[in-house]
């Protein structure tokens, strides 16, 4: 029978049906980091349980690591405590820890793929909502909480309800200046920030088929911003070529065996979906968020909405967002002055993102009033960028070139907005206070748009900047 990838992966990993009707699902790869795990290990220890499959868990440090001075002990003693706890727990359980000294450290959703840990057909879990990123490889990947981290450590399983599957086909061709980030912001704007609750999103169509793995990761990453805990793309030649030769991918003959199995997990052409959505790529323009959730976005050449444009339900949301953002209904979003430019996060801090940002600033300089920083997604991304001289381009333009981590996406480390600063950000959430200042403001956009805004000192249409070259 024709089936979706989601159904196939779900079935291969099903252990049994639990008494309450949920499925006990085996988790093939468990990724952990310093923030959401210490309590899980404590709960495990308190009950005398052990880690059942330590080889199926891999740890790194990303959320709290400083990006300027990474020498130990960290200046922030709480951050130091968290790192020490992770080191202790990994050592005791025999879990591989890719720490700063390893050269392989980075944002968990960047290093999993780049090391070849993330593979098609797997179930993956991590105590982080952006675990959906790994779906780009045709894995079914869940963001989980700390009690569920405990469950996976103790049993390598989760108790879950199956999801429905919505196929989102992006047809046609993207226009110049329009990136994967714009595609996912478009999807979220159209389907809503909770439109995906209860669904896995399967991204398909010509545009997605042509995308690189980096681009697919950007799309899958923000599935959760659309309410979908899981997002994925069917594995294809692009996926397989990306994985070939990666450190933890199978090697030699095993790779060819793996390829056959990986391909067999793809959705069958005549699989049935619970819902289908079609999006015309040509209609998508460079997109910027203006509000306090990722669904509140505009094309860069549009004007801010009036509360009266919406029904009674939407009106208060628009009013609240405009008030918090200090923006005025009816004004163009383009020309909004920024204070900070941030290129980073699990959404957009891979090598290709850094290249696109660098293209925008080569030979230019960040506006005098703007503080700009680039935080590569991993130590490997940073090293590769340096081999290409991207660091030189960024620093010459006035960007700070930092160490790898989550940084100002959620500001658990010293990288934060101050006061009411406005940040043009390549990250994933524009929630109130998200970037570390309770009154700080975030405009989400593609890395190229962030770079262009850094130079202009205000939100600009990346297509205008490109045309001027």
């Amino acid at each position: 029978m024709a089936e979706t990838l989601f159904k196939k992966v779900w079935d291969t990993h099903t252990v049994r049906r639990l008494p309450n009707g949920q499925t006990q699902l085996f988790i093939g790869l468990h990724l952990i980091h310093e923030v959401t795990t210490p309590q899980a290990f404590d709960m495990l220890n308190a009950r005398g349980w052990t880690v059942k499959y330590p080889a199926r868990t891999v740890a790194t440090v990303d959320h709290i690591v400083p990006t300027r001075d990474q020498r130990r002990p960290f200046a922030d003693l709480m951050a130091e405590d968290m790192l020490a706890a992770l080191e202790r727990n990994c050592r005791a359980a025999g879990i591989k820890l890719l720490d700063i000294a390893s050269g392989a450290q980075g944002i968990v959703h960047v290093i999993g793929p780049e090391l070849g840990l993330t593979q098609p057909g797997m179930t993956i879990a991590c105590g982080d909502s952006h675990t959906s990123t790994h779906g780009a490889f045709g894995a079914v990947a869940f963001g989980i909480g700390t009690s569920q981290v405990r469950d996976v450590l103790a049993s390598q399983c989760l108790a879950l309800d199956p999801l429905k599957v919505r196929r989102i086909r992006v047809n046609g061709r993207l226009s110049p200046g329009v990136y994967a980030k714009d595609v996912i912001l478009e999807i979220i704007r159209r389907l809503g920030v909770n439109g995906g609750v209860g669904y896995a999103y399967e991204y398909a169509g010509e545009v997605v088929s042509r995308m690189t793995m980096d681009e697919r990761m950007t799309i899958c990453n923000m599935s959760i911003e659309g309410g979908a805990r899981v997002g994925y793309v069917n594995p294809d030649d692009t996926t397989i070529e990306y994985l070939r030769g990666r450190k933890y991918a199978p090697q030699g003959d095993a790779f060819e065996t793996a390829v056959k199995w990986w391909r067999s997990n793809a959705s069958d052409p005549d699989a049935a979906y619970d819902d289908e959505v079609e999006i015309d790529a040509a209609a998508i323009r460079p997109t910027v968020t203006w509000g306090i959730n990722p669904g509140q976005s505009l094309y860069v050449d549009e004007r801010l909405p009036h509360p009266s444009d919406a029904g009674a339900e939407g009106r208060s949301s628009i009013e609240e967002a405009l008030a918090f953002m200090g923006l005025r209904a009816g004004e163009p979003i383009s020309g909004t002055r920024i204070d900070v430019a941030f290129v980073g996060s699990c959404t957009n801090a891979r090598l290709s993102d850094l290249r696109e940002a660098a293209k925008m600033i080569r030979g230019r300089h960040v506006a005098p009033h703007v503080r700009a920083l680039v935080v590569p997604g991993s130590q490997a991304v940073r090293a590769a960028a340096e081999r290409e001289g991207l660091d030189q381009i960024f620093t010459a333009a006035g960007f700070e070139w930092r160490g790898a981590g989550c940084s100002m996406c959620l500001a658990m480390n010293p990288d934060k907005l101050e006061g009411r600063e406005i940040c043009a950000s390549s990250s994933n959430r524009n929630f109130k206070g998200r970037q570390g200042s309770p009154t700080g403001r975030t405009l989400l956009m593609s890395p190229a748009m962030v770079a262009a805004a850094a130079v202009a000192g205000e939100v600009v249409d990346v297509r205008e900047v490109s045309r001027a070259d």
């Binding site: 404590d42 059942k52 909770n194």
Partner: protein
């Protein structure tokens, strides 16, 4: 297993207006810099409270609330269990709203804190009741699937698996997941990628 059947929750309610209240607002990320969940309740909604002196979570009249009324897509965003932990540690034992993010919902189940759904109109009515008279006593009855108080009595919904977990006291899943470990090992044995190494 810590078995506690959860069927009825009674008490006053903390009303919280607004859709899409994300977990960064429930507990800002800077308070996640710790290796335990202790004391998180001190920082519940801290940044929202700082910007709104009338925030209900800061009001003494709701200090002893054991229910919380919210609107749509509550708990969206980050998967941080610190959010439901902070709510639970403040004394809230169930959340009643239009809808919840999936991860927040699951995290709350794991803590034994039901998140039940009501219609838009009913959520609004409940919020207004708790705003008008903070002393109103409400009862959430999971066996009847109703919430009532001050003459209002409306239906609530909860997915059947969660409902059974609460009624049977099996909401802490780990024990169940370890029950038939032979079956787990059988799945591990048949998954090809566990054996490519």
């Amino acid at each position: 297993m810590p078995i506690e059947r959860i069927t009825t929750i009674e008490g006053t309610a903390l009303p919280l207006r607004g859709d899409n209240i994300d977990t960064d607002r429930i507990i800002p990320a800077r308070f996640l810099r710790a290796i335990s969940f202790q004391g998180l309740q001190e920082h519940l909604f801290e940044d929202d409270i700082a910007q709104d002196r009338n925030h209900p979570a800061a009001s003494a009249v709701y200090r002893n609330a054991s229910l919380m009324f919210v609107e749509a897509n509550f708990g969206c965003g980050s998967s941080r269990e610190h959010a439901p932990q902070a709510i639970r540690r403040r004394g809230i034992r169930a959340v009643i709203g239009v809808s919840f993010s999936e991860i927040f919902f699951g995290n709350s189940v794991a803590l034994g804190m039901p998140c039940v759904s009501v219609t838009n109109d009913d959520a609004r009515r409940l919020i207004e009741l708790a705003e008008r008279n903070p002393d109103t006593a409400f009862v959430l009855d999971l066996s009847k699937m109703r919430v009532s108080g001050a003459g209002v009595d409306v239906p609530v919904t909860l997915p059947s698996a969660a409902r059974e977990s609460f009624s049977e006291g099996t909401w802490d899943a780990t024990g169940l997941l370890l029950d038939r470990f032979d079956q787990v090992e059988r799945v591990a044995a048949r998954l090809p990628y566990l054996h490519w190494a």
